[in-house]
C-alpha cells in the first residue's frame, strides 16, 4: 500500500544522480540553532548537494511574524515539496527563494538563505538577478495577453539573451511538452489556450531564461486531473536539469512527485499569535510512511488540516 501511494521517490532513488540506496545512513539530523517551542526538535535532513541552505528563516509582514525559525536544505536537481494546511507559511517561504516577497510592502526576511554559497539576502544581491536564476510558476496560470511566441520570448528579451529567438522559443516549448500542441498557432494569443496548456506555457516561459531553480506555487490547484498529471510528468522530466521546489495542497501530489517533503503547520504562540512553523523535513517516502512527528502523521492521514 505504501509503495502504491508513493512509487516515484522509490524509482528516483535508483537514479544515480540521487542519493545512494543507503541514503538514510548518510543523512545527518541537523540541530537547528533556533529556540523551538515544545519538546520536539523538528527532524530535518540535509541534502548532500544543497542549492539552498535555509537557517533560522523568519518572515515578517510588518510586525507580524508569519513564519518562524525554518531550517531546511534544498538539494540540487531534486524535487522538494512543501505541504501543510492553509496559512502555514509554505508559500511565504517559497517566495523567499526568489525574493518575490520583496515586492510586498513591509515584508522582511530574517535569518539566512544561502543560494549555493551566496547569501540570498546579502546587501550586494540584486533581486532581479536572483529572479533570473530562480524562476517561478504561480498558482493561477498567468500568461501575458500576448502571443504564445511573445510569452516565451519575453524573458529572454528582457534579459538580453543572445541566440536565435525562434530556437529559444521552440526549445522552451519542447521542454515544457507543449511544442507539438502549439507549433501551428504560435502567433495566437496565449489566453486562447486551455488552463493546463497555459500553465505549461508558464513553465516554458520560466525555462526560456535558463534558470537554475524553478519554484512552483501550487501549480496544479486550478487545473483538472488530466492537466495535473501532465504537469506532474513534466516536473519529473524537468528535474533532470532543474532543481524544483513545489508548494502543494495535494498530499498525493507531494507523494507522487517529490524526493523530499517539508511539512509546515501553523502554531499559536504564548501571546496567541499564529506563526507558520516547519514541523518535519525528510525524504518523501519517510514522511508518508513513517513520519517522526505526530502532527505530520495526523495531517497526512487526514486527521487534521
Amino acid at each position: 500500500m505504501n509503495d502504491s501511494r508513493n512509487p516515484m521517490p522509490a524509482s528516483r532513488t535508483a537514479d544515480p544522480r540521487n542519493l545512494p540506496a543507503s541514503g538514510h545512513a548518510q543523512i545527518g539530523v541537523s540541530v537547528p540553532n533556533v529556540t523551538v517551542r515544545g519538546p520536539e526538535v523538528p527532524r530535518t535532513i540535509e541534502a548532500l548537494d544543497p542549492v539552498f541552505t535555509v537557517s533560522g528563516l523568519s518572515v515578517f509582514y510588518g510586525d507580524y511574524e508569519a513564519v518562524r525559525g525554518v531550517d531546511m536544505t534544498i538539494g540540487n536537481r531534486e524535487i522538494t515539496a512543501m505541504i501543510g494546511p492553509s496559512g502555514c507559511g509554505k508559500s511565504t517561504v517559497l517566495r523567499c527563494f526568489n525574493r518575490m516577497n520583496d515586492l510586498i510592502p513591509g515584508a522582511r526576511a530574517a535569518g539566512k538563505i544561502l543560494y549555493h554559497d551566496e547569501d540570498l539576502y546579502g546587501d550586494h544581491v540584486d533581486p532581479i538577478e536572483v529572479r533570473r536564476r530562480i524562476g517561478m510558476v504561480f498558482q493561477k496560470p498567468n500568461p501575458f495577453p500576448k502571443s504564445i511566441y511573445d510569452n516565451i520570448a519575453y524573458g529572454p528579451r528582457v534579459n538580453g539573451m543572445k541566440g536565435k529567438m525562434d530556437d529559444i522559443v521552440e526549445e522552451a516549448l519542447t521542454k515544457a511538452a507543449l511544442w507539438d500542441e502549439v507549433k501551428d498557432k504560435i502567433k495566437q494569443n496565449a489566453l486562447s489556450l486551455s488552463g493546463g496548456q497555459q500553465q505549461r506555457l508558464c513553465i516554458a516561459r520560466a525555462i526560456a531564461v535558463k534558470p537554475d531553480v524553478i519554484l512552483m506555487d501550487e501549480p496544479c490547484s486550478a487545473l483538472d486531473p488530466i492537466a495535473t498529471t501532465k504537469i506532474e510528468d513534466l516536473m519529473q522530466e524537468l528535474s533532470r536539469d532543474y532543481t524544483i521546489v513545489i508548494v502543494t495542497h495535494n498530499m498525493q501530489q507531494a507523494a507522487r512527485v517529490s524526493d523530499r517533503t517539508a511539512f509546515f503547520t501553523a502554531e499559536v504562540d504564548a501571546e496567541g499569535v499564529r506563526h507558520g512553523r516547519l514541523v518535519e523535513f525528510d525524504e518523501t517516502s519517510r514522511i508518508f510512511t513513517n513520519p517522526s512527528d505526530k502532527r505530520t502523521e495526523d495531517y497526512i492521514t487526514g486527521r487534521f488540516g
Binding site: I128, N142, P145, N159, L191, V209
Partner: protein
C-alpha cells in the same frame, strides 16, 4: 401519499401566489426608467434640434461650397462658407493638446499605478481630479495672460500672435491630462497582479514590467481614455475662444490666431445672428459637423475597447 404529506408540512392551503400587490416595486422601476430616459431623450433631442436647421442650411449652401472652399466668414458681407479653416484649426489644436496630454497623462498613470506608494497615490489622485474640475475659462485666461507672453519672451522667433493656436492647444492639453491619467490609471490598476508577478519572476525590472506588460494589458482602457480626451479637446470652447481667437483664416501655422469650430459657435451664438438667417443656420451646420466628428471618435473608441479587451477571469 407524498403529495398529501407535502401539503400538511407546508401548512394546509396557503397559496404561493403573491398575498398583496407590490406597488412600490412598480413605482421604483418607473422612476428609475424615467431617469435613464432623460439622458437618452436629451441626446435624441439635440440631434433633432441640430438636424432641422442643418438641413435648411444645406438647402441654401451646397455641400460643394461647404467642403470645397477654404474661405470662412458666414458673419461677413459677403458671407463665405468654406468650412476648412475652422476644421483645420480644430484638428491643429486637438493635435497639440494630444501631444501634451498623452505622454504626460500616461507617465502620470504609470507612476500612480506602478511606482507610487499607496500613501502618495491617496494624496495625488484627488489633486489630479481637482485639475479636472478647474473651470476652462481659467485655463483660457492663463493661456492668454501668462503662457502666450511667456512663449513670446522665450521663443521670439515663433512670432506668436496675441491670440494663437499654440497656447490654446497647450492649455487644452493640460485640461485633458486628468482624463488620460485617471482613466488610464484605473485600467492599469485593473491589470491582474499575477501578470506583474509573472514578469518580475522572469527577472524583469519595474520599468520593463510597466511598459511591456502592464501598459499592453491595459491597452484597451488607455485607448478609450485617449479618445475620450480627444473628443473633449475637439469640443473645448472657452480656452480656444479666449486664447485662440476668432480669426478664421486658413492657416497651418499654430502661432497664428485661429478659430476652431467650437469657438465659431460660441462667437456666432453669442452675437446677434437673427433666427432664420443663414448665419444662424450656420451655427447648427457646424454644430452637426462637430457632433458627427466626436460621435465617430467615441464610436471608434468603443469598438477598439471591445476588440482589444482582454478577458481575465
Amino acid at each position: 401519499m407524498s403529495a398529501q404529506h407535502r401539503t400538511t408540512a407546508s401548512g394546509a392551503s396557503r397559496s404561493l401566489a403573491r398575498s398583496r400587490p407590490r406597488y412600490g416595486e412598480v413605482i421604483v422601476k418607473v422612476v428609475l426608467m424615467a431617469a435613464a430616459l432623460v439622458s437618452v431623450a436629451t441626446t435624441v433631442g439635440i440631434v433633432f434640434a441640430l438636424l432641422e436647421p442643418t438641413i435648411e442650411f444645406f438647402g441654401e449652401i451646397s455641400l460643394g461650397e461647404f467642403f470645397g472652399s477654404t474661405t470662412w466668414g458666414p458673419l461677413f458681407k459677403p458671407p463665405a462658407f468654406g468650412v476648412w479653416p475652422i476644421i483645420v484649426a480644430t484638428l491643429e489644436i486637438t493635435l497639440i493638446a494630444i501631444v501634451v496630454a498623452v505622454p504626460l497623462g500616461l507617465a502620470t498613470a504609470i507612476y500612480l499605478s506602478e511606482y507610487a506608494t499607496p500613501r502618495v497615490r491617496k494624496i495625488f489622485k484627488p489633486v489630479l481630479e481637482v485639475l479636472a474640475g478647474v473651470p476652462t475659462v481659467v485655463f483660457g485666461f492663463f493661456a492668454l495672460t501668462f503662457v502666450t507672453p511667456l512663449l513670446r519672451d522665450v521663443f521670439p522667433f515663433l512670432e506668436l500672435e496675441a491670440k494663437n493656436g499654440l497656447s490654446a492647444g497647450l492649455l487644452v492639453g493640460v485640461m485633458i491630462i486628468p482624463i488620460v491619467a485617471s482613466l488610464s490609471e484605473d485600467s492599469m490598476a485593473a491589470v491582474p497582479n499575477g501578470l506583474r508577478e509573472g514578469s518580475y519572476a522572469l527577472g524583469a525590472s519595474k520599468m520593463l514590467t510597466s511598459v511591456r506588460v502592464v501598459v499592453p494589458a491595459a491597452f484597451s482602457g488607455i485607448v478609450a481614455a485617449i479618445i475620450l480626451a480627444i473628443s473633449r479637446a475637439a469640443g473645448e470652447t472657452m480656452i480656444v475662444a479666449i486664447a485662440g481667437g476668432f480669426k478664421s483664416v486658413f492657416t497651418l501655422y499654430p502661432g497664428d490666431e485661429m478659430a476652431t469650430m467650437a469657438a465659431f459657435i460660441a462667437q456666432a451664438g453669442s452675437g446677434d445672428a437673427p433666427v432664420g438667417t443663414i448665419a444662424y443656420k450656420t451655427i447648427f451646420a457646424v454644430g452637426s459637423l462637430l457632433f458627427i466628428m466626436t460621435f465617430a471618435m467615441n464610436y471608434v473608441s468603443a469598438r477598439m475597447v471591445q476588440k482589444y479587451r482582454e478577458v481575465y477571469d
